[in-house]
Structures are given as C-alpha cells and as structure tokens.
C-alpha cells in the first residue's frame, strides 16, 4: 500500500534538463513520428519555432525525473515492481523546443485505495529557465496490492 499521508507532498525541483536536438529526433523516431517540425530544423523554423519541436509526449522524459525522486522516497513506500500506468495527460502552455532548459516540480495530487490496490495521481509542473510554466503532466499509477 502507498502511504496515504504523502497526499499533498511536494518534491523539490529537479536539476535542469537541457533538451537536445538529437534527443528530440531520437524520441520522434521512437514514437514513430514523421512530423517535419520534430525532425527538420528548417521546417520547424518555417513554422515559427526557434528550434526543433518535441513530440507531444516528450514531457514524459521530464516527468520521469521527478517520478524517480518519489519512487526513491521511503515515506511514499511505492513498490515500483507493482506499478502499472493508469492514465496520463499533458497540458501545454507552449511546445517544448530544443534548447529549452527544463525543471519539474512534482506534487502528489491524490492517493486512493481501490480494494488491495492504490491509485496515486501525480501532478508535475514543468518550467523553463525563466520559471515560466511550459507543461503540466498528470499521471496516475496503479500500485497492485497483494491479491
């Protein structure tokens, strides 16, 4: 079971993550994107962006860094081997582009019990170097209890 008292707990901001052009291309290939703004610098600039645009689910890479701090937190007591991804959402203020330096701040939005299982919802706010909000990532993990 996940410790219900971590509901509302906020974790410290992660170290800045520098979004690289080749990382965006690598991620785009991995999610089978052939969107020119993800792959071709000229296409991205012609569409009005400063640099290559990250695919819509790229923010998971940043979310994951915050999530790692929660999974390592003995107070939260989350057994990663029992975790199943329940749902995921990304709400963008603006797209992530290459050159962005991003940090994230995660809050445990809720902890619920569902029989032997726990459902934990995390809200991760992703900020750029000017401390402007870029994206809010919301993720629910289902932690399976003993059957």
């Amino acid at each position: 079971m996940v410790n219900p008292t971590v509901q509302g707990k906020q974790y410290p901001a992660t170290a800045p993550y520098l979004v690289g052009r080749e990382k965006i291309r690598e991620f785009a290939h991995a999610v089978k994107s052939n969107s020119p703004v993800n792959l071709d610098l000229f296409a991205a600039q012609a569409a009005g962006y400063a640099d290559l645009v990250a695919p819509p689910t790229f923010a998971v890479v940043i979310q994951e860094r915050s999530l790692a701090t929660v999974l390592a937190d003995p107070e939260a007591a989350i057994d990663f081997s029992r975790v199943v991804h329940g749902d995921q959402r990304f709400i963008y203020v603006r797209p992530i582009v290459a050159g962005d330096e991003l940090t994230s701040v995660l809050t445990v939005a809720s902890v619920k019990s569902l029989g032997a299982h726990s459902m934990v919802t995390f809200e991760t706010k992703i900020f750029d170097i000017a401390q402007e909000l870029v994206c809010t990532a919301i993720s629910t993990l289902v932690v399976r209890g003993d059957e």
Binding site: K23, E26, F27, H29, A30, V31, K32, S33, N34, S35, V37, N38, A47, Y49, V53, A54, P55, P56, T57, V60, V61, E64, S81, V84, H85, G86, D87, Q88, R89, F90, I91, Y92, P95, I138
Partner: protein, 139 residues
C-alpha cells in the same frame, strides 16, 4: 496545407494509421525515453510477474497514437492537451510483433479558441487499448 476551422464538423474522420510494433521498437523507445522496465524486453521477467508476454510501453502506444492527429494538423506544436487511459496491454510477440491500428475523428469544436478535440481510437487484435484518448489541437 492549412485546415479551415469553418470547414470542420464534429464526427468527421481525420485519418487512420497502422503501426507495426516489434521488440526493436520497444528497445528503441526504452532508450529514447529512459524507461528501462524489463517487462518491456524480457520474456522471463514478464512471465515472472504474471504478464501474458512482453508488453509495449503504454507511453509508446500513447506517443504513436497521437501521430494521427499530428499528421492531420501538420505540426506537433499545435497539440495543446493530450490525455489517455491505459485500458489493455499490447503484447508484443518476439517474432511477429504487434499491429496497432489508430484512427481519429473530431469529437468537439470550439470556435472561440479555434481548437478541435480529436478523439483517438487505438486497437490491438480488434480490442481498444486506450480509453478517453483525446488530443486538443489548435487549428
């Protein structure tokens, strides 16, 4: 290509894509995303935790499925909001892989914000693997 907001209708189909996911796809996604959970590449570990086989990352399915909306709008930076529920696993056979069939249609239109909600269907073996898969795009 530019889409005219006034030409759009709720219920309109915007496209269909098929993805052949192989074990190579999963290894590539693991490396690109940093999610190295072994249930996505090791049969023995998948079996040990009671899974029917090696599974695709839910986030790979989510990332591939949105391409139907991205291809339609022509610019991934126009995706403002994207959400899914993971309802069924995609089991990726070691030699055959798995075929993911994705389609999208317009679920709602908002004239004030000039946005469309694209409702996405993702199927594996004729079964929906994502629930409430919705992408809001700026037209």
């Amino acid at each position: 290509m530019s889409i005219k907001f006034d030409s759009l209708e709720v219920g309109q189909e915007i496209g269909k894509l098929e993805f052949h996911l192989t074990r190579d796809s999963l290894v590539r996604y693991a490396g690109a995303s940093g999610d190295f959970n072994p249930i996505h590449y090791r049969d023995d570990i998948a079996a040990a935790v009671g899974l029917p086989g090696v599974l695709a990352h839910g986030m790979l399915t989510m990332g591939a499925a949105v391409q139907v909306a991205v291809n339609w709008i022509g610019d991934s930076g126009r995706v403002l909001d994207y959400q899914v529920r993971f309802t069924k696993p995609v089991v990726v056979h070691p030699t055959e892989g798995a075929v993911l069939v994705v389609s999208g249609k317009i679920g709602a239109l908002d004239a004030e914000s000039q946005t469309a909600r694209v409702d996405i269907s993702a199927q594996f073996n004729d079964t929906a693997v994502l629930g409430k898969a919705q992408a809001v795009v700026r037209i």
